[in-house]
Amino acid sequence: MIALLMRDLRLAMRAGGGFGLGLAFFLIVVTLVPFGVGPETGLLARIAPGILWLGALLACLLSLDRILALDWEDGSLDLLATSPLPLEGIVTMKALAHWITTGLPLVIASPLFAVLMSLPGAGYAPLVLSLLLGTPALSVIGTFGAALTVGIKRGGLLLSLLVLPLYVPTLIFGAEMARRGAEGADTTTPMLMLAGISAGVIALLPFASAAVLRVNLR
């Protein structure tokens, strides 16, 4: 399974692997927002946690259809399914690879983007922590969506339609935690809820992803 993870990471790093695309997309979103709402610092500071969370979520969404579709097209998925690896493990590794190549860079870069959005000083640590806790859930839920739509040609739009409603709880608790942090309020409750969602999703959703993948392969 480690071999699968290493292969996916290596593929992402090689030409055309799409590593960094999410980050660039995140930067563009953060750049465009002030053009849309005006450059007033107070307003930007107030909406910063929400915009940063939304940007991270959309950046994640952007690369979801690559998680399984490429392996489906070239037949690797058939071969992986007949290999000794359990499908549950395969989808977990796929989600982990997606998180390392998309989610983790967003978490690391988020303080820089927060500067652009004039986030108040108290908000940095909660923002980074909320993204660190929340982005794994985004990757795992996204992998479920990718597994559902893997057999559909041009399933990208459908994938978004299926995955975005599933992102609602994660977004609410993540953005709430970042917002409370920026206002200097107590972040414990949303943090625990966010961590709970991530843990639950990581523990349970791979079984659903593997089940739908098995259906799609037959």
Binding site: F144, G151, L158, P169, I172, F173, E176, V212, V215, R218
Partner: protein
Amino acid sequence: MNLNALWEYANPLKFMRTTERALPYFWVAAVVCLVVGLVWGFFFTPDDFRQGSTVKIFYLHVPSAMMAINIWVMMLITSLVWIVRRHHVSALAARAAAPIGAVMTVIALATGAIWGQPMWGTWWAWDPRLTSFLILFLFYLGYIALWEAIENDDTAADLTAVLCLVGSVFALLSRYAVNFWNQGLHQGASLSLDKKENVADVFWFPALVSIAGFVLLFIALVILRTNTEIRARRMRALLARERLG
């Protein structure tokens, strides 16, 4: 009653024969209940002392909102039956119910907006219940879109069933998340079977009739649509067999 006998109706032909015989009765009952409930509610109940006659949209709003949720629950149950017992009728019933549920959600949202305008002074507010219904509508859309996108019927049935299961969990999570995110304007539950003191009897009886009307209407529509799906499914199977020669 022998519960096992119920599974006989999982046979498409048996299901169609039985339900089509019952269908006219459901139509008549639905129309009677709806007409009685709505006319009674609209014209023969007193105006609310605070809300005036706007309160009467309640006879559309509450039943449609209840149906929007209950139809999803029904889809969840039929999806589970499909996963566990592989009865095609069950999967097709879930497929048939989804657009009805989506329309009920839209009716609940629209009547809510029309009611909310004079009451709260706004067509839309990010009230937790309104927001939850909007999210529920998105779940319906995704579910319907997934059915439409997949060519193989059994594959589509399996995938949508899993989506319905996972979606139910996330819909519940969203409900709590939304409550946490914004405490709203909505009045508490105004209608429940055990706490009828919430609303006066004069409002309550026509509301019950109109809820019964919505349920019967749903049953009639879902029977009609399920039978259509069964026939469409059979036609696709016949065409596929013809192609194979």
